[in-house]
Symmetry: C2
Amino acid sequence: MVPIVSIVGKSDSGKTTFLEKVVKTLVNRGYKVGTIKHDAHSFEIDHQGKDSWRHKQAGAAVTVISSPAKIALVADADHDHTLAELRDKFFRDVHIIVSEGYKRETHPKIEVFRSELRRELLCTTDDNLIAIAGDPPDPPAGIPVFDLNDPGPICNYLEERFLRKETNADEQ
Amino acid sequence: MVPIVSIVGKSDSGKTTFLEKVVKTLVNRGYKVGTIKHDAHSFEIDHQGKDSWRHKQAGAAVTVISSPAKIALVADADHDHTLAELRDKFFRDVHIIVSEGYKRETHPKIEVFRSELRRELLCTTDDNLIAIAGDPPDPPAGIPVFDLNDPGPICNYLEERFLRKETNADEQ
């Protein structure tokens, strides 16, 4: 079962930038990483007028573009998929999945926190918070705090916890 | 096993336009249709600077964007996937897959042919040619010819052949 870790935080707290650093670091260490971005509304992908865009516009439920180096897919969804559903459909072949968002799910979470934006954490330890990246004034006991700008130590922690041993079923 | 039909033809013969008409017609008849576009080179999808684009650029092997109505995926590939591989990975839930291109594969093919562009067909019956859409001067015996601009009759033929009965294993 591929472990899932979610990066959560207030909007504009720098989740995407932090995720980029974590992904780059893990990839440099030789791991295959998958990422998931939640979009609450509609989003646009592909480019108007391209053949694949025309396929989807014509009513295809699923359109795939396949090349020797890259595959892309655009599919209709009939519900908001959970991380576990997305893992089962699309991520059979990675070592770890890092999601941006998905605060309400029960997977382990890293909260990105910048005290100039917010006074209190979004998550409690009940939310399966496993780490904080940033400068929380009063972090919960037992939750490690990492530097938002230095992904090395938090990647050591993720490796230790999810990548170097069998993952703990409780954390799935 | 989801049937696969490939629309092939010379470049600029109108494959995408014809595929759009066929997909619209089948969707209007209540079928769930998947499509596959082959791209021999690299292609761009997603939009520079968007969060999902940043995830992929950071080195994720697979990036998914998920919303309540739509899911998109961009993944690295280590080889040029066959139609059957793509079917097995991504198209578990459609009635039929229509591909654009993939002339060299053995799935049933419809050739789009316009005599002002070309004298001879690309396919022979050995290529598993099952129909021609257009105005071939000398179509092979036993291969039905359909109007390129009227998708109704060819969709009747596809329904009859692939959608109203168990598909013939030879045609897979």
